[in-house]
């Protein structure tokens, strides 16, 4: 699902989990962290940029913190610019041109 987000055009993906030690699913947030780390490594290997994914831990009552984390992450992704996928898409032939080429 995390990789699909990048395939679907996301420049960055922010994952929010419960506070560690305070998850309704006991260790669900710890397992989620491991999965995010896996995607981080994949993005690094394929030169998409691992810093485009990050996990934060919050409780449901920390709205202000959520807003601050979101602003921080969005700023970071804006500094990074479009992902190499989106750059390739914007530099490649437009869909209408592709159709012309296909015919």
């Amino acid at each position: 699902m995390l990789l699909k987000a990048f395939e679907n055009g996301a420049d960055g993906v922010m994952v929010i989990g419960c506070l560690e030690g305070d998850c309704h699913y006991v260790n669900g947030n710890i397992r989620a962290r491991a999965r995010v780390e896996r995607v981080y490594n994949i993005l690094e290997q394929i030169n998409i940029g691992p810093e485009r994914i990050r996990m934060y831990n919050l409780s449901a009552g920390e709205g202000a913190k959520f807003a601050a984390f979101t602003s921080e992450f969005v700023t970071r992704v804006e500094e990074l610019g479009p992902s190499p996928i989106n750059l390739a898409r914007s530099n490649g032939p437009k869909e209408s041109e592709q159709e012309v080429q296909a015919t």
């Binding site: 290997q45 030169n47 190499p84 390739a88 530099n91």
Partner: protein, 221 residues
């Protein structure tokens, strides 16, 4: 189960260099259990390949499939109608499954997406260890249920050898001495007399030394 580890993505991308539309084929057998070649891994690998190729400016089309088992002919047959519509198959089944698919579909290049490992067990989620080398002549009844062929680095039959130090093997301090484990178990079971029943030498003709092996069950063929 048969275990395995993913091949490095750079190696897979290099293998895929000549191709633009492929099948990524997983297997619901052992490789699903050891989290290297099942349906989820097909999805993750396919996404990874699409992203890598598109970022490099050369898209790849991928059909994602996961077969019940790649080592049984009936589960391979459903691929026959469409397999030649694709330039190659990247299989993340074990080496047996990949080879069997290559035998059945001779016009399709088969590429391995994983490195097949060993016959092992799940110690805990994410950790697997070797237990059997399929030597074809089991002696576990004499060795307290611990295999000297697999658990001893030298596969000797009358250990421990001089390289055993305080229960660990000389090849790696993290590796327990298989023969120390066997002796300890035999003592616990009060079966040390089994130690003398082991063969003076082991015949390896039932193992790999006799070439590729075959089992024929007359009651089933």
């Amino acid at each position: 189960m048969i275990t395995g580890t993913p091949k490095p993505i750079e190696e897979i991308l290099e293998m895929l260099e000549p191709y633009d539309n492929i099948i990524v084929a997983g297997c619901f057998g052992c490789v699903t259990v050891c989290r290297v070649g099942g349906d989820k891994e097909v999805q993750v690998l396919s996404s990874t390949l699409r992203l890598a190729r598109e970022a490099a400016g050369r898209k790849i089309e991928i059909k994602e499939v996961c077969l019940e088992r790649q080592c049984d002919p009936e589960y391979l047959e459903p691929m026959r109608p469409y397999i030649e519509d694709y330039q190659a198959v990247l299989s993340i089944a074990c080496g047996a499954g990949i080879q069997f698919m290559a035998e059945k579909f001779t016009k399709s290049p088969l590429l391995p997406g994983i490195n097949t490992g060993f016959l092992g067990v799940t110690e805990r989620q994410g950790e697997w260890t070797e237990r059997c080398q399929g030597c074809g002549d089991c002696v576990l009844h004499l060795t307290g249920g611990i295999c000297p062929v697999t658990r001893c680095a030298k596969s000797i039959f009358h250990g421990p050898c001089g390289g055993s130090v305080q229960g660990t093997c000389e090849v790696d301090k993290e590796v327990k001495c298989g023969w120390q484990l066997i002796i300890d178990r035999l003592v616990t079971l009060d079966q040390m007399d089994n130690y003398g029943k082991l063969k003076p030498y082991k015949g390896w003709d039932s193992s790999r030394d006799g070439g590729p092996r075959r089992i024929i069950r007359e009651d089933m063929v």
